[in-house]
């Protein structure tokens, strides 16, 4: 932790309003981005960030110097976002099965596996970025959440399992199926067409 951050943490512990505001302005944008990615709803994302900062206010006195403030805030906002997902009215979730790859009875790929176009070519168009985003958003929520936590927020399996209240094995299985489904959803658009 550098001297500037140490001073901020001391200010937070002492209940200093200016230190709190500095932290909000310095870290809030990134936290809002994280909440937006997980919740896909602007109003809910802002509320999750607000809840995270209230937690910071309540727990600041006991904040341990070994933890980086940004790491702690990241975890708190991820948790706040996940709590909101849990509180959403449960609606029937489509099965991920329809998005998984198919195989023949002999274990070979059922469809032709074709290489994809190069990434630069793919990501140049805004509509392509939207396409990738739509593919992620179309995953069943339980699987999308695991993908977000592991592959996007880069939490460990253990951290994701704790936050989601799942076993580590369940996290690994869901992550793998989410990745497979994402690959299948993108395959149609990104595969090289035959010349």
């Amino acid at each position: 932790m550098d001297a500037d951050e140490r001073q901020l943490v001391e200010g937070l512990r002492a209940g200093d309003e200016a230190a709190f505001e500095t932290v909000v302005r310095r870290h809030g944008g990134r936290m809002l981005s994280v909440a937006r990615r997980i919740l896909r709803d602007e109003a809910e994302a802002e509320e999750a960030v607000q809840e995270a900062f209230l937690q910071l206010h309540r727990k600041a006195a006991g904040f341990r110097e070994e933890s980086l403030l940004s790491t702690w805030l990241h975890r708190v906002v991820v948790n706040a976002a996940l709590m909101r997902i849990r509180r959403r009215k449960s609606r029937p979730e489509e099965s991920i099965e329809e998005h998984l790859p198919r195989f023949a009875s002999n274990g070979h790929h059922a469809a032709t596996v074709a290489p994809w176009k190069g990434a630069d070519e793919v990501l140049a168009a805004r509509e392509t970025r939207e396409l990738v985003r739509e593919a992620i958003d179309s995953l069943p929520e339980t699987h999308r959440t695991v993908l977000m936590l592991r592959d996007i927020e880069e939490l460990s399996t253990r951290e994701a399992a704790e936050l989601l209240e799942l076993s580590e094995n369940a996290v690994k299985v869901r992550l793998h199926r989410a990745r497979l489904a994402l690959r299948e959803l993108l395959d149609r658009r990104f595969r090289r067409t035959e010349a």
């Binding site: 809030g28 209230l54 985003r133 592959d151 990745r179 993108l186």
Partner: protein, 82 residues
Amino acid sequence: MTCEELVEFLSRYLDGDLQEAERGVFEKHLQDCPPCEVYLDSFKEAIRLGREVCVGEDCEDMPESLVKAILAARSASREGER
């Protein structure tokens, strides 16, 4: 190892979770199966694209209204603590 079995192990392979013997069998299949080699490439690419698109949406800006709401909530909380 069949293609279907290889696909089941893809994440474990990429995450470094395969034992040495398992990794040997996995890589042998890849060497002998061009479709699986292509499938692995697109699997890795899907993960990378997802990360790049999501992280590419990151923004440092915080709406001023949200900053004010957070500071007001903190003040209200402090009032409640007194």
